[in-house]
């Protein structure tokens, strides 16, 4: 092969390997800075103790409350975003005519383009006082507020990926169902959705990963209390919010610093598992 050809090909190799290097860089930096937290606490206490007092003496690094906070707001977000996102996908793909479709799609894309910090601002400055008024709760910055905002943020993820999945369902299946005397709704529920199942489930898992990792919204609107919530109107302190809020106030190399990286490891593992599920389980079954 020509020399120039070889050089060119090598550049493409190197670029591709960079992506692997970056991924390993992320994993290594998390583990390098995060594993030392085990010098100060056991893995059992870290994961299953709800006492997060990183600045007390002696400090306590139990992140159960933070994990609980993350799961509460994420599940809340999914309760909102699954019906809205899947509903939007079904409506756009199966019911809307071409013109309505062309209006709705960019509107939903617009939701995806809004920076998370602006969502956070909206949650803090508008939604929080609104919730206090409507629900008569003492604090408007709580798990409920964060769930609503996160839920809306996840809508475009679920809707665009589900819509892709629905649109790859061959028309012949819809025709077969309609020709057998099923109406549109029955066709959607019994044929189209089941046929697009793997894509729809992937979109929900992806939405979950996005919601559990989203930082700015939970940092600004979840309320910040490191406790296991009794109600959806309690303030919580999800994992990403904890890292973002405390990293700036911690000296590098302290136990607290390592503990924050430890939280990031847990967060990474959760999102990585969800990616693997999509990659190997859901998408594989499609074939």
């Amino acid at each position: 092969m020509d020399f120039k050809e070889k050089i060119f090909q090598s550049i493409t190799y190197i670029a591709s390997i960079c992506t692997i290097v970056f991924l390993f860089g992320i994993i290594l930096s998390l583990f390098f800075e995060g594993l030392p937290v085990l010098n100060f606490t056991s893995i059992k206490d870290f994961l299953f103790s709800k006492d997060w007092y990183p600045t007390m003496f002696p400090p306590k690094f139990g992140i159960l409350s933070l994990i609980a906070g993350s799961f509460v707001v994420t599940l809340g977000a999914l309760v909102i975003s699954i019906p809205l996102g899947l509903g939007a996908a079904i409506y756009i793909s199966e019911i809307a005519n071409k013109r309505v479709k062309e209006i709705l799609k960019p509107l939903i894309e617009l939701l995806a383009g809004i920076p998370s910090v602006v969502y956070g601002l909206f949650g803090m400055a508008f939604l929080s006082p609104f919730l206090i008024k409507v629900f008569q709760v003492p604090i408007g910055l709580n798990a409920f507020n964060a769930s609503i905002i996160l839920g809306i943020m996840v809508v475009p993820i679920i809707s665009s990926m589900s819509e892709d999945a629905l649109s790859t369902v061959p028309n012949s299946l819809r025709e077969a169902s309609l020709a057998l005397g099923a109406n549109k709704w029955e066709t959607i529920m019994k044929v189209v959705l089941p046929a697009a199942k793997s894509g729809v489930i992937s979109s929900i898992i992806l939405g979950f990963g996005r919601a559990i990792g989203e930082t700015m919204v939970v940092l600004m609107v979840a309320g910040g209390a490191a406790q296991i919530p009794d109600s959806i109107f309690d303030p919580v302190r999800p994992m990403p919010a904890t890292v973002a809020a405390e990293m700036g106030e911690t000296a590098i190399g302290t136990p607290h610093f390592h503990a924050l990286f430890g939280i990031a490891i847990i967060l990474f593992i959760i999102t990585f598992i969800s990616i693997l599920i999509i990659e190997f389980v859901v998408m594989r079954r499609k074939k």
Partner: protein, 285 residues
């Protein structure tokens, strides 16, 4: 029975309508609140002056400049890497195991929470490479974050180039490299750029990755070099809402900054949509 079926069907379809109306309603409410509360704050001075009196007065010029440089540098870093990776994935794609690993890496990078990018940037760029909290560290961090978006867009763009073009070029005796550089890339370029522009919108709005790598709370100065700390629009909104002692004055400033950031992001994505539309219209194949 038929009536029950009809009833179910109409309830179902109207429920879908309700869901989509709710989503659209939220979007308009959101845009209305931001623009109504922030629109009046935005003025020429707001755009061109530095913040004064601990951000309670003055403008956001340094944050605009900071966001501009962060975005330009990060895309400048990620775009070539992304395009070359996309070329590998589409045109060389050997050995297969490497393709598979790169694919998993891209998908994983795309799903990693942005705060983790922040920690990565802090560990690697700020500390290991000793770039400090700086424009450079922030831009590199954002670049890594934008990489999967750019790769995916470029791959899709390259794959949409008809195989006939490639075959014709190869049949004329061009090498693979010549074919890629002279036929495939030029044809795919507009679509690649659309992808790049979309990632600009994403990068410009990110906050968490720059919190510990580039952003500073308050400076009246503009960055003189890539090693300086910078202000940035998204971080500025966050800082105005959570720091400082004068919320009554800061909240309107935050809304104003949000208007500028949103306008920027919307402008950028509109440009992308227009370009995409133009390409589709012009395309003859």
């Amino acid at each position: 029975m038929t009536n029950i079926r009809k009833l179910k069907s109409s309830i179902g379809i109207n429920l879908l309508r309700l869901f989509i109306l709710l989503t659209v309603f939220f979007l308009f409410l959101f845009l209305y609140v931001i623009f109504a509360k922030g629109g009046s704050v935005v003025s020429w001075e707001f755009l061109t002056e530095s913040p004064k009196r601990f951000m309670t007065e003055g403008g956001i010029y340094p944050a605009i400049v900071g966001t501009f440089w962060l975005t330009v540098l990060s895309i400048g870093f990620a775009l070539p890497l992304g395009i070359f990776t996309a070329i590998f994935m589409t045109s060389y794609a050997k050995p297969y195991w490497l393709v598979r690993i790169v694919r998993v890496a891209i998908n994983t990078l795309a799903g990693v929470p942005s705060i983790i990018y922040g920690l990565f940037g802090l560990t690697v760029f700020v500390r290991l490479f000793n770039f400090g909290v700086s424009l450079l560290s922030g831009a590199l961090t954002l670049g890594v974050l934008a990489l999967p978006v750019i790769i995916n867009a470029s791959e899709e763009a390259i794959r949409s180039v008809p195989g006939d073009f490639r075959d014709a070029s190869l049949a004329l005796g061009a090498t693979k490299r010549q074919t890629i550089l002279r036929v495939i890339l030029p044809t795919a370029l507009p679509n690649i750029l659309t992808g790049a522009i979309i990632s600009i919108g994403r990068v410009a709005g990110e906050t968490a990755p720059i919190m510990f790598t580039a952003a500073t709370f308050y400076t009246r100065l503009l960055p003189k070099s890539a090693m300086d700390e910078v202000m940035a629009l998204p971080y500025h909104i966050y800082a105005l809402m959570t720091e400082g002692a004068h919320p009554a004055k800061q909240v309107p400033m935050a809304y104003g900054t949000a208007v500028v950031l949103l306008a920027l992001v919307l402008l950028v994505s509109t440009v992308a949509i227009v370009i995409r539309y133009r390409i589709r219209k012009k395309r003859k194949w």
